[in-house]
């Protein structure tokens, strides 16, 4: 493109320092928040008050802060579920489906052992809780691994398969908890039975133990990718699958592994939201909302550029923003869905920042035409 006496082109960047990744991440988030201001224009409140309402509820109100922490754990686990396959160049859009699978599997344990009522509890609760966690992770891993096998064995597009699995599991949950389904609550329709109190996840300072899993996984994943041969293989496969194959990396095993691990994290996220959150302890009728929320995990993994520790502050911020936006929406009488709109805006600014991350804008001065080109044709006559 020509601007005045300069030639402006986009050139691929050769180096991408970590500082630059952080800069584009912050830029994308700030731009999304600025664009979200347009949503608040219809409200009668000044813009700064709207943002103050969001942040003070999410991070300074005791109830809000606790809810933010709970949601951060969920979003972090979803982030890893997307991040691990992404490092191998694969897109795991199946977060909602894997979350639902984790929820169903967790509730299957008390259902199978007939322990919906606490007086019939025959096994030690700690054992049952561990079994619930393991079965949730395993169910998520199986649903994820299915897409991974199809991808590796037959080159089936993993985006389509995981999306189909999302719909299948959405309706499976509906079947389980509605209209006389096996998990339906004896009291009301449209939600599952409630977990008996002994099976509630143990709390550490009011926060479920899943927080330890989420933070531990952040450290574990960063070490896995940075320091281990397996992590190196995953990254090599993500950068260039053909070259990785010549290097002796087996695509089937690798695709299966990243999808199993990712799906396992999403299953844990399902366990966390449905079976470990104080005040919930059931699969509620609006479970679809938590499936939608898991898409924030996609964005935090993308914005963190595959760094699990880098994703921690981003996931906490998004948890606070999505909660605070819901709160502000009620207070300012905004239409439903500010949190959804923010999700969309963040995705848009991420795509824009991705361009600036991959390319740099090069300005080159066009040589001034002081020297006339030599005539190629003889003058007439």
């Amino acid at each position: 493109m020509r601007l005045g006496r300069y030639d402006v082109t986009l050139e691929p960047r050769t180096t991408r320092p970590a500082f630059y990744s952080a800069l584009t991440a912050v830029g994308a988030i700030l731009l999304a928040l600025a664009l979200a201001s347009v949503l608040f224009l219809s409200a009668q409140t000044p813009l700064l008050d709207a943002y103050r309402a969001i942040f003070s509820y999410a991070f300074f109100n005791p109830n809000g802060l606790l809810a933010t922490i709970h949601r951060s754990i969920y979003l972090l686990l979803c982030t890893y579920a997307f991040l691990v396959p992404l490092r191998a160049g694969l897109w795991n859009i199946g977060l909602p489906g894997q979350v639902y699978a984790g929820g169903i599997a967790a509730f299957a344990i008390p259902f199978v052992f007939r322990t919906q009522e606490s007086q019939t509890l025959s096994l030690p609760p700690v054992f049952l809780i561990l079994l619930m966690v393991a079965s949730a992770a395993a169910a998520g891993a199986v649903v994820g691994g299915f897409a991974g096998v199809l991808r590796a064995r037959f080159q089936v597009n993993e985006i389509l398969v995981t999306m189909m699995l999302n719909s299948i599991l959405f309706w499976l949950v509906a079947y389980m908890i509605k209209e006389g389904g096996p998990f339906m609550s004896p009291r009301g329709e449209g939600e599952s039975f409630a977990l008996p109190p002994p099976l509630h996840a143990p709390l550490l300072w009011g926060v479920p133990f899943t927080a330890v899993l989420a933070l531990g996984a952040a450290v574990f994943l960063d070490i896995l990718f940075a320091k281990t041969p397996l992590g190196y293989r995953i990254r090599a496969f993500g950068q260039n699958p053909a070259a990785a194959r010549y290097g002796g990396i087996i695509p089937l095993a690798l695709s299966l592994f990243v999808f199993l691990l990712g799906g396992g994290f999403a299953g844990l996220a399902g366990y966390h939201y449905f079976a470990a959150l104080p005040g919930v302890y059931k699969i509620s009728g609006n479970y679809g909302y938590f499936g939608d929320l898991s898409f924030y995990g996609i964005i935090s993994a993308l914005i963190a550029r595959g760094s699990s520790l880098g994703a921690v502050p981003i996931a906490v911020l998004f948890a606070g923003l999505s909660l605070g936006a819901r709160f502000a929406q009620g207070q300012l009488r905004l239409p439903f869905g500010v949190d959804y709109a923010l999700l969309g805006l963040l995705m848009m600014t991420f795509v824009a920042s991705h361009v600036l991350y991959q390319f740099r804008v090069a300005w080159r001065r066009v040589p001034s035409p002081t020297l006339r080109p030599a005539p190629t044709q003889l003058p007439p006559g």
């Binding site: 037959f154 597009n157 719909s167 509906a174 995705m347 991959q358």
Partner: protein, 291 residues
Amino acid sequence: MWELLARSLEASTIFLFAALGELINQRAGVLNVGLEGLMLFGGTAAFITAQATGSYPLGFLAGLAIGGLLGLAHGFFSITLRGDQVVSGMGLWILSFGLTTYLGNPHTGPLGLARITNFFGLSPFFVLGVVLVGITWFLLFRTTQGLAIRSVGENPAAAEASGISVTAVRYACVLCGGVLAGLSGAAYTLSYNPVWNYNFLMGWGFVSLALVFFSMWNPWILLAGASLFGIMWQLSLSPELVLPGVLSRYVWRMVPFAITIPILSVISTPWFRRRWGLARPEALGRPYEKS
């Protein structure tokens, strides 16, 4: 029975419009995985406009325009900036999913206009769909422009060398694809099911995307596939018409998605690809850089 069939064919039309647009896109080498997003945004824009003005034509116009605009946005990212087409497509989908939930929410509920007239229960859009399939087939396989589109999707460097502007052809195709996706969304919200609800598509767009792969990039096979899926979809919505009292209705809702996965797997096998898969555009999903 006729009513069910007519309704199924109308459902097929939704798949058909979107998938036809995607087919044109992909024939030119541009993959848009955010098809569902384009449909959501087009459908919502059409619904809001039609409700505000009380006019169907204006509603459709808005849907087509939004669809085309988003198609061009995807084109700008994937053609001009040579970005990753999956990133841009997924971005468009989540952007539309989020924004339409917010923008459409005050309009939740029925459209409140007289239904579009149909011929003995058959939607006029189905007729339009068949005509469009014919036009697309003729355009792609019987005209110079179609040859240009296909060559741009197979080998852009060779196309460029023979004097075709890859950029121009691809932009024309993404515009076309976007407009058709917008039409699909508008046909859904204005005719097939004129009630706005958040995320009303719930996977129609992704099934359409899968249909393009099933069709082996041939419009006539696409028409057959879309009709089959329309019938299956409609049956999954009202299974009691055929098998009353068998299984929960929620189980039936899984069927179209559950059938999609094995079909996708079969057409992706090396055997199938060697035997039938030659139609896959060689440069699909790959940005083209003029050298």
